[in-house]
Symmetry: D2
Subunit: 252 residues, 4 copies
């Protein structure tokens, strides 16, 4: 693939080294894939597309337009997964107000919010932070896991679910590229799943770190492919018999 | 301690071996304990005390009178923990209907329920299965974790929470002795917490396995102590400064 | 199966409850099994068969004759696995002297050893404690994992290895029934593997706890089957194409 | 801190966003720190300092001069830790030839090595790949863990060891910034350790990704501090009583 998003950020020595080593070999797809959607929640979308520096005034953790530009691609990817019968796993945050568990990011790094009226509006906003947005919300039969860490491999029964399904390949989308997506991809590779990142379907609030994390993941842990490449493979895939129903809840 | 509940179940050879080896040395308590309450939910209590073989007609997973006989002891233990400022962690099941994750116990081992009217009553009962009973329900500031496995060390952020608190000792109560309590105690020891099982505060639907699992835990993983012994220690314990507030949510 | 080893230990109420509930439904075998051998090391065999109460004088953690009586059954099971091309995973202990990690069992529960000369003989014995005995030692191509906890699901890359192989079923043998076997079986079930315990191929230093742990595992986590039943299934099993070679090391 | 290594890589929008949000708040140090050294093995050092594009001809995974320039800083950090009595954990790779577990990085991404004679020299080189280099080798009483994944939180008993020690803070050094260091830092934060990255003591084979991964870690997971800042804190730290001896092996 000539011309990747990360090229502009590499130094001359970086490029010479990559050139010398040759491209990373691909992981390739296995036979039993699942789609893993990371943190497509209100917190990073807000209620409407706005440029990043506007959006953060209302939603401090917004990813701005990058989120909304990815959204149709993610919807398309999800629609294809549902069409071809591929299992889907959704993740979002587990609110500390519910679990009593403190947040991993050592709470409160952000400056106090500025543009809010206090009172009802803010309370309502907080209540919606972890809602997966309607456009890509889970449907019956899809897994929905709430996590208290960047990667859903920690603190959720994800690995058990994937074993019950017999999954060998994870196709990853969501946000942020440099945060929870990266963490999920490292853990996916660690657990020996073939791992695919769909380039148009991941996004970040920072441009440099989006690009470089794609480079890192492609070098070390995953194949970073275009949506078109992934969908082409998905459409040619045939689900193994009985695939997609957790073993333990299948009729016995 | 002369006369333990498991003595009646050991064979002559078992007793001779235990005698030869001498009692297991105790783990002892550390300086930063937490109370871990396992699965005190409606599923095993039902709505009122009934002998086991009656109770299972209405609540197939009931532990019968053993549950209700333990309850005042558990309430007393929990009250002491709250008095002395010891962190408390409650656990219950994460329903597959919510997570989409199949159950670990390869669903449906039980015979179809017999005594139910179908319809509304059954639906209502199912909705309450994972409710922690009112007598020992979590209060503000206590952790509440939902698990999809016997032990809360899998599939929940428990280890992160314990590290945030700096816990070094887990005092364990709940049910069942031979199931989720045993699994939690093995994992607690595996993770290098000093582990204490409060004898009157754990219960089981089977008598032999209750006794033998206490023996196993006492031999290998934990100190099995009486409620009086544990409460005496708790009352003498002084919480370290700032103890009990997860680091990440403390004011910073 | 009429007449199980645990029947003699159950109380009347236990039996009535088991009778009422009906037998646990079986897990059954999947399509991609592996054999998991737990802790077949010198520590529990010593150098020759001796009755338990003799054996512990030389090897304090010996399981006595129970170990040596299981051994031909385990050899037979292992031979069958190798014949039919089933992946094998061996486990043993990771010595703290090598890792610097303290033992999980809160070291030194046993009385000081009595029958040893100090000096060279004892040093030599300690060096061999974690050696898997020759009769069932790993061969080229089999996994060999060293653990610092009862279950190899903690502190080893086991889950990654099983995912790389695509395993869906674990057949478990080794020791002790009430210790590391039980812990491994609970974790296997937790991780959603179909789990089979081969009755003649697990052993313990205590008779009551051997029997009751088989009962517990059969009730909750696994199918406890005879060696004949397991071997019959194994001989009828056909390995899926390319099965048994970790994905990541397969030719690519 | 004015002027960070990552500034040159951020886009205008990135800088504006970072400016708007204000710097991330610091994690700070706790009371019970440990030093975690990641993968200081021959594989990335080779046998002598050489520019990256020379070094990879002999040692395909070399980090070139970046490794050797960090080394005196790492030696200084390690010396300080030993002086003040801070526990040290070393990690390296667990060779698949020993464990039978396939590598996480989907083996063989690199082109075939070019500059080697075959035969004895290559075999000897391979045997040394996972050796921690002499300059920073473990000494008696320090933990030494071998991993089959980027982060030592997977597949080793690290979390048990840290709990036994009562650690609340991890100070991280080693390589590569964008690989195993990043993965370890994410997991450290996930597990709720206060996490410190010592800037001069981490290195990478790529310049852009070194810088951006420091930015990511500083934004989300850790405090990226200078060696001087860290050593100043270390010298003011007083070890709590009995600190540094795993509980389970302490005299009891």
């Amino acid at each position: 693939m000539a011309g990747r998003v990360w090229d502009a950020y590499l130094t001359e020595q970086d490029k010479a080294h990559v050139e010398y080593k040759g491209g990373p070999r691909t992981n390739g797809f296995g036979a039993r894939p699942a789609l893993l959607l990371i943190d497509l929640y209100r917190r990073v979308f807000g209620d409407r597309p706005q440029p990043l520096l506007e959006a953060v005034k209302e939603w401090p953790n917004s990813c701005g337009l990058a989120a909304w530009e990815s959204l149709p691609h993610i919807q398309s990817l999800l629609a294809t997964a549902r069409e071809v019968g591929m299992p889907v796993v959704h993740t979002t945050g587990l609110p500390g107000s519910e679990s009593g568990v403190g947040q991993w990011h050592v709470g409160g790094r952000d400056k106090p919010r500025r543009s809010h009226e206090g009172g009802r509006k803010q309370v309502e906003q907080i209540a919606r932070l972890s809602d997966i947005i309607d456009e890509v919300a889970p449907i019956e039969g899809e897994a929905f896991l709430r996590k208290a860490s960047p990667s859903p491999f920690f603190g959720t029964p994800l690995v058990g679910h994937l074993t019950a399904l017999g999954v060998d390949t994870l196709i990853v989308a969501g946000e942020s590229t440099s945060g929870c997506v990266r963490a999920s991809v490292v853990d996916s590779c660690t657990h020996r799943y073939r791992t695919i990142v769909v380039e148009e379907c991941v996004f970040d609030r920072h441009q440099a770190t989006h690009a470089i994390n794609l480079f890192d993941m492609n070098q070390k842990y995953a194949d970073v492919l275009s949506l078109a490449e992934v969908q082409e493979w998905m459409r040619g895939w045939r689900a193994p018999e009985d695939y997609g129903i957790p073993r333990a809840t299948a009729a016995r």
